[in-house]
């Protein structure tokens, strides 16, 4: 069964990554190159963008048009929103969250980064590190992306000079020591010419590392999920109410952390009742173990009152239970964050209301300095705030678990998602 040609493998790993770069860093070209060189661009797609480029009088086929699909984007030659792209090699399947370089930058990058295992940050070899590079790196670290790949692009315009690459690498490492990133790699590339993207460059024999695609295919992502702290937010209660399943009562949800097994002694929050896991039903039937990010249905030994928004955890490993939450928030709406304002707050499958009790400081995303004297938090700002919720939440620090450490704030008037919070 497993020996199909091409992309026909049934058992591949999935890697989600995001790409960040300033305007004209060649990000769209890089993505186009990855898709094109891995043969993930189809002839009709290529033909369509070739014709489009021609119509616009562009000298070469503009690979950026592959990712800019909306009418307004094509008309204005800009990228508006996060776009998701897909490609696969025989080793892995990839999901790219492609985020635009300028408009509403922070908001879009935060969105794209929230589900990514890896971030590619592009640096223009001619310009070196610029303010935006620092911002990208900071956001990647804030969002807890485990792997960072710094691509020093346009090496062809700097005569493929090793000194240029080393200087940027050193500068970046100095900056990155200020915050927490688990794994940083550096690759000198030319997205336009294809150096070190899919094929190893003939122009940079001094570079002994792997190409970008090889790195994406092989980087170890298995340990990126939390397998220690058992967290099961109850999403939906399944009660068939048929004769055959008269007493069936299952708690459906997605494992947010740890490894759950039948027989485990568990506690249900907020009630605090303890019981044992009787059985776990997976998509293919009963399973002996469940771990993140599996969607399963848990049955308990005792009949308890459990509903959506409750959490099943191990008796001796309980998350923080509180109505007071401290977080870093990225603001995503033109209407400013209101001190003492009330918002709907959603965390795992639990929803409540909250009031913003305090705005401690804003972060200057370019220098990482804390701004204490200006507490106006507007679109694209990142700030540390504390909120008080109408009922207790069960949470972990974001850096420990992205699923149980993240919240969104919703404006109750417009129903828009206005803030993305990372619990600290």
């Amino acid at each position: 069964m497993e020996h199909f040609s091409g992309n026909g493998y049934l058992d591949m790993e999935l890697l989600r990554f995001t790409t960040a770069g300033s305007v004209d860093d060649g990000k769209s070209t890089l993505i186009g190159r990855l898709l094109y060189d891995s043969k993930s661009i189809f002839e009709d797609q290529y033909e369509a963008i070739r014709l489009s480029s021609e119509r616009r009088g562009e000298p070469e086929v503009n690979l950026a048009l592959l990712t800019d699909g909306l009418r307004a984007e094509r008309e204005q030659g800009i990228t508006i929103d996060v776009a998701y792209r897909y490609f696969a090699t025989p080793k892995r399947k990839f999901i790219i969250a492609d985020t635009p370089g300028h408009i509403q930058y922070t908001r879009n990058m935060v969105t794209g980064a929230s589900t990514a295992n890896l971030a590619i940050i592009l640096v223009d070899a001619r310009k070196g590190m610029v303010e935006q590079t620092k911002r990208h790196a900071f956001i990647a670290s804030l969002l807890g992306i485990p792997h960072l790949v710094i691509c020093v692009n346009k090496m062809d315009l700097m005569d493929y000079d090793q000194q240029v690459f080393e200087r940027i690498k050193k500068e970046f490492q100095g900056f990155a020591s200020k915050f927490k990133v688990h794994d940083i790699q550096f690759i000198p590339i030319s997205a336009l010419k294809g150096d070190n993207v899919v094929e190893k460059s003939k122009h940079m024999p001094w570079y002994g590392g792997s190409t970008l695609l090889y790195l994406l295919e092989t980087i170890h992502i298995g340990s990126d999920i939390n397998l220690v702290d058992c967290r099961f937010p109850v999403q939906y209660v399944i009660r068939p109410q048929t004769n055959e399943y008269h007493d069936y009562r299952g708690y459906a949800g997605r494992v947010a952390g740890g490894i759950l097994k039948p027989g485990d002694k568990v506690m249900v929050l907020p009630s605090g009742f303890t019981t044992k896991i009787k059985a776990i039903d997976g998509p293919e039937g009963p399973v002996r173990e469940a771990f993140a990010p599996m969607s399963v249905t848990i049955r308990l030994e005792d009949e308890l009152d459990v509903s959506r928004g409750d959490m099943i955890v191990r008796v001796n490993n309980v998350p923080e239970i509180s109505q007071d939450i401290d977080m870093m928030v990225c603001w995503m709406n033109p209407v400013k964050l209101q001190l003492n304002g009330k918002y709907a707050i959603r965390h795992t499958t639990r929803e409540a209301r909250c009031v913003v009790k305090n705005i401690l400081y804003k972060v200057d995303v370019n220098t990482l300095h804390r701004i204490q004297d200006d507490k106006e938090v507007g679109m694209n700002d990142i700030a540390r705030i504390s909120v008080r919720t109408t009922k207790p939440f069960f949470f972990d620090k974001y850096q420990i678990n992205r699923f149980t450490g993240s919240v969104i704030l919703i404006d109750e008037g417009t129903n828009e998602t206005v803030g993305a919070g990372m619990i600290i």
Binding site: N7, A83, G222, N415
Partner: protein, 301 residues
């Protein structure tokens, strides 16, 4: 040592089941859009898993253009019966009879665009507040920017420039009266993933997806199957071909592919080797560069 990694198909499956359950939990009156195509078949399969051993807690909604392949309707009815699901059908013909829409004329006429009105009417009539759709982001460039939970205003319109940010797996389905959501659990699936999953799960598929003999006409590179809805133009003729369908829509706009692929394994090999997208054979997308976006803004699937 036990490995705690899900394969890409199991991870996509888990994500989709989570999204489908989220719809059942967050909305009062959801429905699942079922077209009889492979994506909606896989979505229905996942919905069945998501609530097992209970039945799917919402009905299926089929927008019937009246130009369906007979095989599609047969397959639909058999599956609905097997799952014990409820089926609601909205007929484009009813919209035409009521004068809600005017049928296109000419040899290239299609009811594709008319479906939007029937769909929005069905939403209003039944009070649906969320519709699960089988759309995938890899299908078309306008879909690449679609959210899992996609907000629609009271006119059913999509505003691509003003979408709600969607972070982690926290989905915001809050809305005002009269507004609704389109939800796409298969957002992150590719055509290849769909077929691999069909093979992995051994899902029964309509015969149209497998190669067979059929009379078709070659219209500017699109192979249209013979039916009463297709009128030949000057210089065109029906030819017997060995074909299969990569996508299944309305008979007036779904193009066939010349193919020998007669099993799931062969289809997967064909998809892997294919150099054109599946929608390359869809006449409805060829009307303009942003045909899909324009239709979606009006409230299309």
């Amino acid at each position: 040592m036990q490995s705690y990694n899900l394969s890409h198909l199991r991870e996509l499956e888990a994500e989709s089941m989570f999204v489908i359950r989220e719809v059942a939990a967050q909305f009062e009156k959801p429905a699942l859009l079922f077209s009889g195509g492979k994506d909606s078949i896989v979505m229905l399969h996942l919905a069945n898993k998501a609530f097992s051993p209970a039945k799917i807690p919402f009905p299926l909604l089929h927008i019937d253009t009246g130009h369906n392949f007979p095989e599609t309707l047969e397959y639909r009815d058999k599956l609905v019966k097997k799952l014990g699901a409820r089926l609601v059908v909205g007929y484009v013909q009813d919209s035409i009879d009521k004068g809600r829409v005017v049928e296109e004329t000419g040899p290239q006429a299609s009811r594709n665009r008319l479906q939007t009105v029937t769909l929005l009417d069905a939403i209003e009539e039944h009070g649906f507040d969320a519709l699960l759709g089988g759309g995938r982001r890899d299908e078309e460039k306008a879909r690449a920017k679609e959210r899992f939970f996609s907000h629609r205003d009271e006119f059913g319109q999509w505003d691509p420039k003003n979408q709600r940010p969607e972070l982690w797996n926290l989905f915001n389905g809050r809305k005002k009266m009269g507004e609704h959501f389109r939800v796409f659990p298969l957002s992150n699936w590719t055509e290849m993933d769909v077929w691999q999953y069909v093979l992995l799960e051994n899902i029964d598929m309509p015969s149209l997806y497998f190669s067979h003999d059929r009379e078709c006409v070659n219209r500017k590179g699109t192979l249209l199957a013979r039916s009463e809805y297709i009128k030949l133009m000057d210089g065109e003729k029906w030819e017997k071909m060995h074909i299969r369908f990569r996508t299944i829509g309305d008979m007036s706009c779904t193009g066939a592919t010349v193919s020998q692929a007669n099993s799931l394994e062969e289809i997967i090999q064909e998809v892997a080797a294919s150099r054109v997208t599946e929608r390359g054979s869809r006449a409805d997308d060829k009307r303009s560069e942003t045909a899909m976006e324009d239709r979606k803004k009006e409230g299309y699937f």
